[in-house]
């Protein structure tokens, strides 16, 4: 080994359990956040296809506001800004992990709204006419005819959003969430093994995102979307 350039991979043995703890939180925040993000995004996306002006307006403001600001600003705004307000008024604050989940939900919701809107609007209007001409209500036509077809088209972009949101959780290191990046930084501050630990952190993120894209490719093949 080159002298003066000492890599200590033994540190990995020490760091791994801590990093795996971080991974657990990363996954929990991602999945919980995306679950609520999907509900929010589906509602906002459908509102964006609606002829109801106020509904359309609210959803549009939401989507534009979130897509137009960095997620780090959103997370800081929620955890420090909104929390300050909450502390002053009701003496209660959102803890860091729920704040992370809320931030992912609100952020991904705006992008998912556009995914949902695009997919729903891409379904041929002849499908709706066929459903309505059979006497199905507009809700039943949507539920049985439009949504299943639209949902299939949402799968690839939703998978993409899954990967983006997972990586976005690393920003919650800034709001004291003990997710993967934060755990890595804690280990580094104790060991000064920045290269080794950041390498491990990067590889672990990569392992997660590659797993998602592999599963996704399998699902897309099975459902024959595209």
């Amino acid at each position: 080994m080159v002298s003066g350039f000492n890599l200590d991979w033994g540190i990995a043995i020490y760091a791994l359990p801590l990093l795996l703890g971080g991974i657990k939180l990363t996954i929990i925040i991602t999945i919980a956040g995306l679950f609520f993000g999907f509900l929010l995004g589906a509602a906002a996306g459908l509102a964006r296809t609606s002829k109801n002006k106020p509904l359309y307006g609210i959803a549009t403001v939401y989507v534009e506001a979130i897509r137009g600001t960095p997620i780090l600003v959103q997370a800081l705004y929620l955890y420090f800004g909104v929390n300050q307000l909450l502390m002053q008024t009701i003496n209660w604050k959102i803890e860091s992990v729920p704040a992370g989940i809320i931030a992912i939900a609100i952020n991904s919701g705006a992008y998912i709204a556009e995914i949902v809107r695009g997919a729903v609007q891409s379904i041929d209007k002849g499908q709706v006419e066929a459903g309505r001409s059979l006497g199905l209500s507009s809700f039943k036509t949507f539920y049985y005819v439009v949504w299943p077809q639209a949902f299939k088209r949402m799968i690839p972009p939703l998978g993409n959003q899954f990967i983006i949101s997972l990586k976005d959780t690393s920003l919650f290191a800034f709001i004291a969430v003990g997710e993967l990046l934060r755990q890595g930084q804690i280990v580094i501050s104790a060991t000064f093994a920045a290269f080794e630990i950041y390498t491990m952190v990067a590889v672990l993120y990569l392992a997660m995102t590659l797993s998602i894209s592999t599963v996704l490719r399998f699902v897309e093949k099975r459902l024959d979307v595209s």
């Binding site: 002849g126 499908q127 309505r132 059979l134 199905l136 039943k140 299943p148």
Partner: protein, 241 residues
């Protein structure tokens, strides 16, 4: 009269597409609507099940006043089947599921009973072996026959056809027309927008010629095709025959 249309006007914004249509259609009657592209044939047909809103005039279908806001339009539509040029089958459902969806989810009929009726209807249109096939694996002619079975599954009193064979390869037109002829023979009330003059001649009780949003001439197929009264009718028939 199972269909009564009085002074029907329909505009899309500034564009007036139907300029006062009067028309009565009796039960068991087969009426073919012909005319140049853009003359308002589809719009007229779509006003009969309110796929297009009515701008003014009166339309009574199977006893329901379509311009009365209290009319339950979903109920009316269960009594009026429609077949589209582009088939509009549901691509995520098999042929059988296409046929059973509305009776089960719309009318709330028991699935077993509906399945049996649906299989009989698929047999009637010559597709009993395709019940579990998805539309993407059917030919155009087969898709249109499934679409007809799907409409019939609601047990409608009236069937509307909007150029049902126009999107088909020529060799597939016959199989769809055969099904429609059978339906006419059984006494279904049918309004058919079509360019198939052979079908109109053979099956129609009456042919309506539309141009520029009005009914220019209507008569028996015999009269319309051999002895058209109006200059525009003559010009149109000369062009296509």
């Amino acid at each position: 009269m199972i269909i009564k249309v009085e002074n029907l006007h329909k505009s899309f914004g500034e564009l007036e597409v139907l300029k006062g249509i009067d028309c009565e259609i009796a039960e068991r009657e087969v009426v073919c609507v012909i005319g140049p592209s853009g003359s308002g044939k589809s719009t007229f047909l779509r006003c009969l099940n309110l796929l297009e809103g009515i701008t003014s005039g009166k339309v009574i279908v199977n006893g329901h006043d379509l311009t009365d806001p209290k009319t339950d339009i979903n109920k009316v539509r269960t009594e009026v089947g429609m077949v589209f040029q582009q088939f509009n089958l549901f691509p995520h459902m098999t042929a059988l599921q296409n046929v059973t969806l509305a009776p089960v989810k719309g009318l709330g009929l028991p699935r077993d009973q509906v399945n049996q009726t649906a299989l009989k209807l698929l047999e009637k249109v010559g597709l009993s072996d395709k019940a579990h096939v998805y539309p993407q694996n059917l030919s155009g002619g087969q898709m249109q026959r499934v679409a007809i079975a799907r409409a019939l599954a609601m047990n409608p009193r009236i069937m509307l056809f909007d150029e049902p064979t126009s999107a088909l390869d020529p060799e597939l037109v016959g199989e769809v027309l055969t099904v429609m002829k059978e339906l006419a023979r059984e006494g279904m009330t049918m309004v058919v927008v079509t360019h198939e003059m052979g079908f109109a001649r053979e099956v129609a009780d009456r042919v309506i010629f539309m141009d520029h949003g009005v009914i220019v001439e209507e008569n028996t197929p015999q009269e319309i095709f051999t002895n058209p009264q109006n200059e525009r009718t003559r010009a149109f028939l000369n062009m296509i025959l």
